[in-house]
Symmetry: C2
Subunit: 348 residues, 2 copies
């Protein structure tokens, strides 16, 4: 199929070709802002129970596609399944975010990774079948993983962090120990992404949510280098799989990230100046983004103007419309419907 | 004194002149990492009690100068004294950060602002006297305020926030109401800074800690425009006072901030690429920054290398050494001493 004019629009865009309308999907599109998601959640015993039940995960992945016909369906899962599969304890407490157990780097174990993560692969394969069975033949299935830096922040801090003091102290003061931990994450993440492609993922996204928390040296060593290694390994196994890198908050380091990691496209956070990105990034690869999720939450004229400006500023090259960060849980689905219309109508 | 060769080094740097060694100070240098600060704190009834006691505030401001002979002494206070003086309730709970009372925009009252904030002015004047009396005639006194956007995030969210959902929804969905609130902050902040100069501040810094949380339209309207108005007002009253703007996380918007706000110098966060900043910012105005505070916390070879790289990359123009964000409370004072040596020895 690669290169075919009948290819799904988002895949055409990822190969740098113009499509009739701008493809779109939204980070965290399968989630709490949808009543049908909350209904599934109410019937299950917490987040992991849902994410590791292939039938629930596939159903949740399909929900936004049925409403809004996105061009990409991102599998319902979480970036922290990797530390969990490596043997670190993981819980999601209602309204609190993730809590990870104590980290023993020496005890992390990659051996059973694929078996432990088999529910994710099963969910991907079921979703691929659902998309076909329900006639969503323009929608591509997106697999994903957290980038090693972002995942390791949770592993070392034990959860979310405001200042990343523990993980940065480890990275800066014990560079050899930290490098060993990062190597485990590079290897397991590459393995995980390769298996996702085998299970039916047509696009991969690597989320580096906390890329912007580092200093320039840290960005080079903890963001760019591990990502480059993962991309290299995944491409060795699946040369044609498009990979979107999302180094959130990378600021003036975005161009170096694009030039050095080998990703096929780059996701932009909401702060990124669209004209700057059109000049410095879109000339090198397709760009994805970058509406502030709070514009979607707020709705109204501000949403219309902000969305149209992004569409306009990126109209000179390959562009996948998306948010600059995950959708906010209180977002009215009607705002998402309106955004989908604005995107489809463009440039009308 | 302006223009004199006997001027304090940091003031010379702020006027774009070369000095023998690189002047430095550290954000949050007067604070919890110092045992003598913790001793003062133990004797007082919480943060506000200290900040509003001119004798304690002056003493705390002097503490790091006595140890490390910084070129700048930043007055011990907090950016949230402005909402407090406007009538919004404010508490600092131990280990939790600020808590603000309910916001009633219609009830904010600027009338008694200067009187309510008179302890800050008294602290500035006392510190100026201490610096002279104790022979720190190379150290300049720095006054400061939060920028309106950063201050309003706390006022609307009621404290710190992870996603700024409330304040951004207000900014994006009720632009007129939000603009009125920002106008009050512009006016009161300008008034406050002008009074700080009258009380003895020789430099002003405007902290826009959450500048990077906005989208490009928001950055223009909530960061650049209010800051420009404040700078204009302060300069009308005190044309020679140097103003450092610190739009933390401004990414590729730093050049627009420098070009449009009228600040005399710009503070850089820890992510900023020093070579990029030397080319795009330091050619326009003096730069300040930008060591990651976690390098100072971690110490060792990583600290030495990172600090020297910053000194080297900014050696072609006017540079004030500082951190990219406030000093971490667990930082060993010995690391600060070592950093001071590295800066003083440069380029030896």
């Amino acid at each position: 199929m690669a290169g075919s004019v009948h290819e799904k629009p988002i895949l055409q865009t990822l190969r740098g070709r113009k499509t009739e309308s701008i493809p779109f999907w939204l980070m965290r599109q399968a989630g709490r802002y949808l009543p049908e998601y909350r209904a599934v959640r109410a019937s299950k015993n917490g987040f992991l129970d849902m994410a590791f039940d292939p039938s629930s995960a596939a159903e949740i992945t399909m929900q936004p596609v049925r409403r809004f016909r996105m061009d990409g369906a991102i599998i319902f899962s979480d970036i922290l399944v990797i530390p969990w599969a490596l043997g670190q304890n993981l819980e999601f407490l209602e309204g609190e975010g993730p809590r990870l157990g104590e980290l023993n780097p020496g005890k992390l174990e990659m051996r059973d990774l694929e078996e432990k993560l088999s529910p994710v692969f099963e969910a991907l394969s079921r979703t691929r079948d659902c998309l076909a069975a329900e006639g969503y033949d323009r929608t591509a299935l997106i697999g994903f993983a957290g980038a090693p830096w972002t995942v390791v922040t949770y592993m070392v801090e034990g959860g979310g962090s405001k200042d990343f003091a523990k993980v940065k102290t480890m990275a800066y003061a014990q560079p050899e120990n930290f490098a060993r931990l990062m190597d485990i994450l590079v290897e397991s993440t590459a393995m995980y992404l390769i298996a996702q492609v085998r299970a039916g993922a047509e696009i991969l996204q690597i989320f580096d949510t906390w890329a912007g928390a580092l200093d320039p040296h840290g960005f080079q060593h903890q963001v760019i280098e591990p990502t480059r290694k993962i991309v290299e390994r995944v491409k060795a196994a699946h040369p044609d799989i498009p990979i979107i890198g999302f180094p959130r908050g990378a600021a003036m380091h975005y161009p170096a990230y694009v030039a050095q990691t080998g990703v096929d496209a780059v996701g932009l956070d909401g702060l990124v100046c669209t004209k700057w990105a059109a000049a410095h990034l879109q000339t090198k690869c397709p760009v994805q983004g970058n509406l502030d999720p709070m514009r979607l939450l707020a709705g109204g004229e501000g949403l219309e103007k902000a969305a149209r400006k992004i569409l306009r500023d990126f109209s000179g090259g390959a562009h996948i419309f998306n948010l600059g960060h995950g959708i906010h849980k209180d977002t009215p689905p009607a705002h998402v419907e309106r955004l989908a219309e604005i995107i489809r109508e463009f440039p009308a």
